[in-house]
Amino acid sequence: MPVIEVRDLIKKFGPRTVLNGVTFSVEKGETVVIMGGSGCGKSTVLRHIIGSMKPTSGSIKLFGEEITTMPDRQLEKVRLRFGMNFQFGALLQSLTVGENVALPLLENSSVSPEIVDLIVKMKLELVGLTGFENLKPSEISGGMRKRVGLARAVALDPELLFSDEPTSGLDPIMTAVIDELTLDLTRKLHMTAVIVTHDMVSAFRIANKMIVLGAGKRAGTIIAQGTPDDIRHHPDPEVQQFINGRPDGPVPLKLSPEDYIDKLLGHERQKGVDY
């Protein structure tokens, strides 16, 4: 049984369709990387899987249970089984770094305070932030906040870890440390991970399954999925453009001269008039 099963996920914000029939599944122990350009709906997919957004239509099963129609109280139980690392950390600004990591332990487990203290130190050590327990989130850098977010996400040793761009804004060494940590969690502790990222180096380092979301006309749909090797040799030119980071290809960087004039003049240009 797959840990995550997403079927025909469609999300519309008013007239705008952000996700248009996303279907994929994640098996236990897999590390799945979701890739795609900015604004293609990667984070939206993640938000649906963790249950903070409800889809327009489609089904999402976590651990075999349908979460889109689940009552809140039941959803809370499912949420205890996974950890989420938000894009900007989403730390509670009024608490210290240590208290943030301790929060899920104090609220959702019966561990005694002394043990909580020990676990907090261990989790912070994992992300290279020993000694920062007593600082407030506003006193540390954005990259550090992100790592605290990761420490908090794994505080309860979840079966499943979601990470929204865990390495953007980190230096290359820290990126490698976080990748190494993700690998340790998945390979040694058999945690399942779903990671959204732009960073191709880190994506190919950690993934054993990749999902690429399209841009432009194919926005909100999966244009390729498979092992890292499948993706590296994928025939789709948009996939190649994305993983090799080329400015021009199926996803145009710039408008053509005609389109540019159209956009500038608000589509009022008449045929035959020379500009």
Binding site: I50, G51, S52, E76, K77, R79, L80, M84, F86, F88, A90, L91, L92, Q93, S94, L103, P104, E107, N108, R152
Partner: protein, 249 residues
């Protein structure tokens, strides 16, 4: 409008659940969070509430003395001060101070947390935001506003004493005796009952406005303004209804 009312009722239902049913399911509200909020909403608001009450006591006594002097009835100034402050102005003005200080702060704080994905993060960690954030503030407000009101009452009467003693040559014992003759327990109780109702209105409106924020810094600003305006409006309406209730029954 109906959606706002529905959210308001739902928020109240959730607060009720976490206060009375949650503890039986092993999910307690943290006492330390309640105490922390009590300090912020009550103890730290004391100077401002005291200053407001003192100035009201002073002005009431002066205005009253001027009018009553025409009828040679300055002896009734303490009566005027006691009844007006206990029944009406004490709860109302302390309420206004608390809306400006704490109601707005609660909305801005919760709104900023909403914008910064902190509320979402709490939900994803299976920590109910109403239990974690709203209920401690609710309890703190429900305790501290009446406490501030009672303190404010005394300080307002102290303001009355300053005028009566130094301007009207009344002696302190006489002032206190007149206060006790004029002010009945029911005057104090009606004011305190009012302040409980105000506390409930202020904190639920502030929390609802904060949790409903959307649209970044501008949204937080808009929510804070609307929270203050709605709280004051709701408080004035409730005040009129309660005064009518105590007047007719």
């Amino acid at each position: 409008m109906t959606a706002t009312v529905r959210t308001f009722l739902s928020l109240n239902g959730q607060i009720f659940y976490w206060l009375f049913l949650g503890p039986f399911r092993g999910q307690l509200v943290r006492p330390s969070a309640v105490l922390h909020q009590m300090v912020r909403m009550g103890v730290q608001a004391f100077p401002m509430a005291a200053l407001t009450s003192l100035s009201i006591g002073l002005t009431l006594a002066m205005q009253g003395a001027q009018e009553l002097a025409r009828m040679g009835a300055t002896a009734f100034v303490p009566d005027l001060v006691a009844v007006t402050i206990l029944r009406e102005l004490g709860p109302l003005l302390v309420g206004v101070v608390v809306i400006g200080r704490s109601g707005s702060a609660v909305t801005a704080e919760l709104g900023t947390m909403k914008v910064g994905e902190e509320i979402e993060a709490l939900e994803v960690m299976s920590i109910n935001p109403v239990r974690f954030l709203v209920v401690p503030r609710f309890l703190a407000m429900l305790v501290m506003l009446p406490v501030l009101t009672v303190f404010g009452n005394y300080i307002g009467m102290l303001g009355g004493w300053i005028i009566c003693h130094f301007a009207l040559d009344m002696n302190t014992t006489g002032y206190i005796r007149r206060l006790m003759e004029a002010g009945h327990p029911i005057d104090l109780y009606s004011g305190v009952i009012k302040s409980f109702v105000f506390a409930w209105l202020i904190i639920t409106i502030s929390c609802q406005s904060g949790l409903g924020v959307s649209g970044g810094a501008e949204g937080v600003g808009r929510a804070t303004t609307s929270s203050v305006v709605t709280s004051i409006f709701a408080m004035l309406v409730a005040n009129a209804i309660l005064t009518a209730f105590f007047f007719f029954f």
